[in-house]
């Protein structure tokens, strides 16, 4: 005789909710999962009717579930949004091909238009080529910088107002900790914002800001959503690895710790005397940058000159 779901008191409980430890039935789990995301969207006034939204789609669990939930909520609550899938091809053989196939399948399943943009067409270099040139030391830096710009440029091509990414609560909590550990006060202030804007830069939101990674996996599992899951073959970074382990340990001591960290991050305010770097634009490509040349252009210059950076 199984226990009953603590919310509806009718159905048998089949899962223990990672965020709260509550024992829930499937339907109630779907409800709380979806409603919390809806609340995050509404309370933060992320969208308005008629907005064109690009969903950053990697084929991984976060973006697959994101596409599914955005479509579902758009219909259920009549947000009135036009949704697109936007995918970036970094040019990593083996890894990227498979995940791109998944995105193409998502396009069919969710009936959403898809745009794929590649590093090769944007920068003239694929990740495989970059790694051949600079080795495995700073390749993640390249990839990170290039991807951020690639999404923006893809969004411009699609003519959308807004990009949504699948960053979840675990990602944000980890970033808060990382920024404290390495003293990046400017990023610390920004990283808990659910929506970031910038001149010359498309607005980005994280509807999964308060959604636990485990629950995203659970949702995908029960709803039998199709996703591709492997870590990039060119990761990881050891310092972040420590922070991630700590976060996982924290979660096992107290499940709400992830949300608690985000809550703390949102409350931080910086002393007025602290100097923050100012934002300008890149001389070469017009992207926003605190220096004359934006990161991507600097890295590209280095690559093109044959100098590893």
């Amino acid at each position: 005789m199984g226990r009953l779901c603590v919310i509806c008191d009718k159905e048998r409980a089949i899962i223990k909710r990672p965020k709260t430890g509550q024992k829930l039935c499937k339907e109630c789990f779907y409800y709380v999962f979806e409603t919390e995301i809806h609340n995050a969207i509404i309370d933060n006034k992320l969208f308005k009717k008629g907005d064109r939204i690009a969903i950053a789609a990697s084929g991984g669990k976060d973006s697959t579930v994101l596409a599914h939930v955005m479509k579902l909520l758009n219909e259920r609550y009549q947000y009135g949004l036009e949704l697109f899938l936007l995918s970036v091809d970094e040019g990593i053989t083996g890894y990227r091909d498979d995940s791109l196939e998944t995105v193409k399948r998502n396009q069919q399943q969710y009936e959403l238009p898809l745009k794929i943009i590649s590093y090769s067409e944007l920068y003239g270099w694929s990740m495989d080529q970059i790694v051949k040139e600079v080795g495995l030391k700073n390749n993640c830096t390249f990839c990170g910088v290039f991807r951020r710009q690639a999404l923006d440029r893809g969004a411009v091509i699609l003519n959308v107002d807004h990009i949504v990414t699948g960053h979840n609560a675990d990602d944000i909590a980890e970033t808060v900790l990382m920024n404290i550990l390495r003293g990046d006060i400017a990023r610390l202030q920004r990283c808990t914002e659910i929506c970031t804007t910038g001149d010359g830069c498309i607005r980005r939101s994280k509807p999964f800001k308060y959604t636990y990674e485990k629950e995203i996996v659970m949702y995908a599992y029960f709803k039998k959503l199709d996703y591709f899951s492997t870590e990039c073959i060119y990761s990881p970074n050891s310092y972040r690895g420590h922070a991630r382990t700590f976060l996982k340990d924290l979660e096992s001591v107290r499940p709400s710790a992830i949300i608690d960290i985000i809550h703390s991050g949102e409350a931080f305010e910086i002393k007025k005397e602290v100097k923050l770097p100012t934002q300008g634009v890149c001389k070469r490509c017009g992207y926003m940058s605190s220096n004359e040349l934006c990161k991507a252009c600097v890295l590209l210059e280095g690559l093109n000159r044959g100098l590893p950076k």
Binding site: C8, V32, I259, S264
Partner: protein, 464 residues
């Protein structure tokens, strides 16, 4: 999906083997201590150490409105930091005997031995500080249940939470202070919550004692290692809003008692070595999580994490401490929004925020099963007010007390209470908590009254 978000190249200051044999300061003597990346001889090390203390103390002195002749209290746990601090305060104050900086220095220690079923630590501690000849106050943590450990000096009403999570206010409970404290803490199996509560009970007791003894300043011995651990652990517990007040060199939040942390720039390593050279013996005082494994509580886990990280990356502690120092108490802090348990400021609407991001009920039934923690008597009606978790019910007197209590908590204390499962009898909270709830209620009533007649008033609240 790649998990690396935008990364800059990290200047990680990985551990290196020092090549210089000489002290980096005097450049002549042989170096015998390595602090981060610098090597010092014994003399220079001590000089720099004392210098850091003086700098911090001078800074608060000049900012102080008391000039010279302040009466201060030293919070003395018995650990190495407070041991070193007391020695430094003594040397500083006695530097010019006829021109003492502090007119009076009181040493205060809080004994927690009840929780560990051990002998009292007070005799040993008192003996270890006897040589300074300062008035010594040894307190038992359980005495926080005395009706005089309150702002008014006499408040004997308390808040009780029973096994069915009924929250009520009672007068003159018959149990002894020791029984009340044991009961409270034995009902909290979650060590994170236990540690958290004990910390704030101690802080409250210290502040109250300082106040009652006319001390305008309270010295606490948090070192930079301890502070950087606190910065991470407070963040992890959702205490980001009050973090700057709990980790800064000086805090005015308690108005009449200023908290000063003069050891904030010294690493625990520096303090350990200073004590060794100065022959200062510390008394090892155990607490509820001493000698436990890392995952016992958030504090233990964080300490393990930071101390381990510092070993591999020696700038960890200083970077975290520096980051924390750049944070400021929020502009939105309101003096009257003081959590009744931890006494720290809370954000308005933190309860509502919590309910939106953690949905506990479905629309078709507002069952009490929706709140699964401190089980409360919620009915199906939805009116304003409500329980700890935000279900809405003020249909009777009990739930009024629930609502008032729930509304006077900060986010983190709310999370703590949610993690308490009462298995034995009931828990009684110290009188200062009930006093806080009543005070808040009065302030709100007064505010409402004022709003009602505002257009006819010709003076401000302060002028009355």
């Amino acid at each position: 999906m790649c998990s690396i978000q935008e990364e800059t190249s990290l200047d990680l200051n990985v551990k290196f083997k020092p090549t210089t044999k000489n002290c980096v300061k005097c450049k002549t003597a042989k170096a015998i201590i390595l602090i981060r990346h610098s090597t010092y001889c014994k003399k220079c090390f001590q000089h720099v150490f004392v210098g850091k203390f003086r700098k911090n103390v001078e800074k608060s002195r000049t900012a102080s409105s008391y000039g010279s002749g302040e009466k201060i209290m030293v919070g003395f746990s018995g650990g190495p930091s407070s041991r070193a601090m007391l020695q430094l305060i003594n040397e500083y104050n006695e530097a010019i005997p006829h021109k003492r900086v502090y007119s009076e220095i009181v040493v205060c220690h809080i004994d927690e031995s009840l929780l560990l079923n051990q002998k009292s630590t007070i005799p040993l501690i008192e003996q270890s500080v006897r040589k300074y000849n300062y008035p010594f106050i040894g307190l038992y943590l359980q005495d926080i249940y005395n009706s005089d450990v309150t702002k008014s000096g006499f408040y004997n009403s308390v808040i009780e939470i029973e096994i069915d999570a009924k929250i009520s206010q009672q007068k003159d409970p018959t149990e002894s202070p020791a029984e009340k404290l044991s009961n409270l803490l034995n009902n909290i199996s979650n060590l994170t919550v236990k540690e958290d509560f004990i910390w704030y009970l101690k802080l409250c007791y210290l502040i109250d004692t300082a106040r009652k003894n006319g001390c305008t300043r309270l010295f606490l011995g948090d070192c930079s290692t301890r502070l950087s651990i606190k910065i991470i652990s407070l963040t992890s517990k959702g205490r980001g809003f009050s973090l700057p007040l709990e980790t800064s060199g000086e805090t005015n939040w308690f108005e009449d008692v200023i908290i000063t942390r003069p050891m904030k720039d010294m690493l625990s390593k520096e303090i350990g070595i200073y004590n060794q050279f100065a022959g200062l013996d510390d008394v090892y005082v155990q607490n509820v999580t001493s000698m436990m494994h890392a995952k016992a509580s958030i504090e233990r886990l964080t300490e393990d994490f930071i101390v381990g990280l510092e070993k591999e990356f020696p700038s960890t502690v200083s970077t975290i401490a520096r980051t924390g120092a750049k944070l400021t108490p929020s502009d939105s802090i309101m003096k009257e929004n003081r959590c009744v348990i931890c006494l720290m400021p809370y954000q308005e609407n933190n309860k509502i925020w919590q309910n939106r991001i953690i949905v506990m009920t479905i629309p078709s039934s507002q069952q009490s099963n929706g709140c699964n923690d401190i089980q409360l008597n919620c009915s199906k009606n939805t009116t304003s007010g409500g329980c700890i978790n935000g279900c809405n019910d003020t249909s009777n007197d009990e739930s009024m007390v629930n609502a008032e209590f729930a509304d006077s908590l900060c986010y983190a204390c709310r999370v703590d209470i949610r993690d308490i499962k009462i298995t034995n009898k009931k828990i009684i909270l110290p009188p200062y908590v009930a006093e806080g709830v009543e005070e808040r209620k009065k302030k709100i009533n007064r505010k409402q009254m004022r709003k009602h007649i505002e257009e006819y008033l010709l003076c401000s609240e302060e002028e009355l």
